[in-house]
């Protein structure tokens, strides 16, 4: 299923013969765009790793004042679509364009991808390893780099991979910031030359980049840290308390303050009116479509995630890899692939909510697979063995043991997919039922003609809709789990 876009890309790439493929690949422009995208992806990922790990440590391990509230606020940027972040930043800092602009905007919206898994890892990692290191004469800082970083490396790298793939596939922020990235080549192909072949070939290049990154991450991931029985205690920040607090507040202001203030300004300054019933109806659509998408993604992710958590086989790795490849593709490519297959093989479903949900599943499967894998890891097989020895069959065991234990992680993943679906634009435009608008499409319609004031209510509601699952996500990952 995750392979559908790849099949489509191969079909479209080679429809005019291999020489066209070679021509497109051989253009210096192609290499240049790929390099620009990779540079951006690497820089943003590096920045997200630093920001994500630091903020995760502050909310999960330090005695930062108000760290629970910060835990929520620091995750909220996930709810900000990159194109909203883009146009609000431009309206606040008009000079922020090009690489710097794309770098800032993408870093600020995607660092929670690192923060979330790292905070969870910091909560569950065995603190005695750190204590041993301290007793051996290392300072707290040395311990952090020598021991803690090693413990959270798999989580941080997994988050970093999501960031890198997200940056590769992003079009909203790079186009607004006028940074010529690889996706721009793909879009130009559709918009300026109306030619799908070069777009498909460029899409294949993205797939190759994504696979390389995914394999690289897997090599570097290493072993998952040993889970401790105890909760680590909060580390006193001491003199670093004030700078840490100031930095955290600054981060929240940059990630949330800029969009919120900017939207408020547009709302107040604009003369356009908007209909509350329209906004409400659109919100209802968005919630319904995203919920459907999140549930379908979850259903498809469950077998893959369980396979990946329980069996380290070649099949599981292959399926996971295909999912990640899809994640690096821009929404338009996945959307067109489903147009191609949908109209031929499932015309009854074409341009219906199930088809749109399916597109979301292809796009966001890795987010859900990761969550399912983590969730299932909370339910070790030995517990299932015990349950069965106590007279419960496979299904009852699943229901009474595996599901309740894996549920929080799985639900968190579903929430993450939900908010990502709510933000999605290009595939939604292609595959939504005719006449059904979501917050993202209404926002696009208005920003395309510079009707920012008219767009602001939709952007504001989108932030709220996406923020609710973000808070839920956060509560699961950052709360003190006294029952463990």
């Amino acid at each position: 299923m995750a392979v559908l876009p790849l099949v489509y890309l191969v079909v479209r790439s080679f429809e005019r013969g291999g020489s066209v493929v070679w021509d497109v690949l051989a253009r210096t422009r192609t290499a240049e765009l790929a390099l620009r995208s990779l540079t951006l992806a690497v820089s943003v990922t590096a920045a997200c790793l630093v920001l994500g790990v630091l903020s995760a440590w502050l909310v999960a391990r330090s005695d930062l004042p108000g760290r629970r509230a910060f835990g929520v606020l620091l995750v909220l940027p996930l709810a900000v679509p990159s194109y909203v972040a883009g146009f609000t930043w431009i309206s606040v800092v008009p000079d922020l364009t090009g690489f710097a602009g794309a770098f800032v905007v993408l870093t600020l919206v995607s660092y929670p991808y690192v923060l979330l898994p790292v905070a969870a890892a910091l909560r569950t990692a065995d603190p005695s390893v750190e204590e041993v290191a301290r007793s051996l004469g290392r300072t707290r800082r040395q311990v952090f780099f020598a021991v803690t970083v090693r413990q959270i490396r798999p989580a941080a790298l997994a988050g970093g991979l999501l960031v890198a793939l997200y940056v590769l596939s992003d079009f909203g922020a790079v186009s607004l910031m006028r940074y010529e990235a690889f996706t721009l080549g793909i879009y130009t192909s559709y918009r300026a030359t109306f030619d799908r072949t070069p777009a498909a070939i460029l899409g294949l290049v993205l797939v190759v980049l994504a696979i390389a990154l995914t394999v690289g991450e897997r090599r570097a991931r290493g072993l998952v840290a040993h889970r401790g029985r105890r909760q680590p205690s909060a580390a006193p920040l001491g003199r670093a308390r004030v700078p840490a607090l100031a930095g955290t507040i600054a981060l929240v202001l940059l990630t949330l303050g800029v969009p919120v203030v900017s939207l408020a300004w547009w709302l107040a300054a604009g003369t356009s009116t908007f209909s509350v019933t329209d906004v409400l109806a659109t919100t209802g659509n968005t919630v319904a479509v995203s919920a459907f998408g999140a549930l379908l993604t979850l259903l498809l992710a469950l077998p893959v995630g369980i396979l990946a958590a329980r069996h380290q086989g070649r099949l599981a790795r292959g399926v996971e890899l295909a999912g990640f490849a899809g994640h690096a593709l821009p929404g338009i490519t996945v959307g067109l692939a489903l147009v191609f297959f949908g109209i031929r093989f499932a015309p009854a479903l074409y341009q219906t909510v199930p088809m749109l949900a399916f597109a979301y599943a292809v796009l966001f499967l890795p987010l859900a697979v990761g969550a399912v894998r983590t969730g299932v890891a909370h339910a070790p097989p030995v517990l299932e063995d015990v349950s069965r020895s106590l007279g419960h069959g496979r299904w009852r065991t699943g229901l009474r043991v595996t599901v309740p234990l894996a549920a929080p992680g799985v639900l968190a993943g579903t929430a993450l997919v939900f908010l990502t679906c709510a933000k999605e634009l290009p595939a939604t435009l292609l595959l939504r039922p005719t006449g059904v608008d979501t917050l993202a499409t209404e926002l696009w319609t208005r920003t395309e003609v510079a009707a920012y004031a008219a767009a602001a209510p939709y952007a504001a509601v989108l932030l709220v809709v996406a923020a609710i699952p973000a808070v839920a996500l956060d509560r699961f990952l950052l709360q003190d789990d006294s029952r463990r």
């Binding site: 063995d385 069965r388 020895s389 007279g391 234990l405 029952r483």
Partner: protein, 333 residues
């Protein structure tokens, strides 16, 4: 409760058999310890008995009922106590113990079992709030609750510290007795196996090397390997002629002839005024007894276990004599 019989059991992964023809029987209400080093097939044996892994051939009988491969774990009536307990983290202690019971019978039975394992009043606690020993008791109560035919205990004390282990062993043994449970304990700890079980099966390379009462295993091991595995030993190689063999501790009577190994337990080495002179190199005092490292005249080092009393100090010269009969294992031709 019923007895457990295993006949010519073979099982493995892929083409590699891990268990090759395992045979044993546990009497109803008995406690059999399966003792073996890691990798000998203990875990596979448990998984096959509990129904998590298929046997390649052989038979498993629970009383009059044969447990063929198509009997799933949930219909075997075999309870398990995994390493470190593996309590359900999302359920309370009472929820864990009552997990295998029907709704109606839970209340009273849960109380009864918590009482049995000495944890009355702990029902509302969550697993995270228990100590390791308490968690292990809850795991045992949980396994016993549905009155299984047999309870399998998989290294249940390995994660506990020594003092606690000792205490818990006695408690578990008493609990199993008073519950009238047939039990199979898997362990790599000889003290545990010998101390707890009615019968011990020494498992080696996927087969039962010896099945006997603990005293028999210790005093008359089937071969040198078993002898070395079940306890500390002092060994000398020598040649037995007419029932006698010369060792650095003197000439000892043995049963056997030809080249072989003489084996003594450290407690058979008596320190006193009679015997072969030796020099005390080190003394490890354990309280109830002490372990004395001795150097004999020819340089051989041997260990003696001494009950209380005077043990001397490093550098002292003492005389060593042998108490009881030495074991002799002839070399394989």
């Amino acid at each position: 409760m019923s007895g457990l019989t295993v006949k010519r059991l073979v099982a493995g992964y892929g083409g590699d058999p891990v268990l090759r023809e395992v045979d044993f029987e546990v009497q109803e209400g008995g406690l059999l310890a399966v003792l073996g080093p890691s990798g000998c097939g203990k875990t596979t044996l448990l998984r096959v008995l509990a129904g998590f892994h298929p046997a390649s051939s052989g038979e498993v009988w629970l009383g009059e009922r044969q447990l063929t491969a198509d009997v799933p774990p949930e219909r075997r009536g075999i309870g398990i106590v995994p390493q470190e307990g593996a309590l359900f983290p999302h359920l309370s202690v009472a929820g864990n113990v009552g997990f295998g019971l029907r709704r109606g019978e839970r209340g009273a039975r849960v109380e009864e079992l918590l009482d049995l394992v000495g944890l009355s009043g702990f029902g509302a606690r969550m697993p995270g709030e228990l100590s390791g020993g308490q968690a292990q008791r809850v795991a045992l109560a949980r396994a016993l609750a549905p009155r299984p035919g047999v309870v399998l205990l998989d290294e249940p004390f390995s994660a506990l510290d020594a003092g606690l282990r000792e205490e818990l062993r006695a408690d578990v043994r008493a609990t199993l007795r008073s519950a009238g449970a047939t039990a199979l304990l898997v362990t790599h700890d000889q003290e545990e196996a010998l101390g707890m079980a009615d019968l011990v099966a020494v498992l080696r390379d996927g087969a039962v090397a010896q099945l006997a009462r603990p005293q028999t295993i210790y005093s008359s091991p089937a071969d040198l390997g078993v002898a070395l595995f079940v306890g500390e030993a002092v060994t000398f190689s020598g040649i037995a002629r007419s029932g006698l063999v010369r060792t650095p501790l003197g000439t000892l009577p043995v049963s056997g002839e030809g080249h072989g190994t003489v084996l003594l337990r450290p407690e058979q080495l008596i320190l006193g005024t009679d015997g072969v002179p030796s020099i005390v190199e080190d003394v490890l005092f354990h309280g109830h007894d002490a372990s004395v490292l001795l150097r004999l005249a020819d340089g051989t080092r041997v260990r003696s276990r001494v009950q209380g009393g005077v043990t001397g100090r490093a550098g002292d010269t003492v005389a060593v004599s042998v108490n009881g009969t030495a074991l002799f294992f002839g070399d394989m031709p």
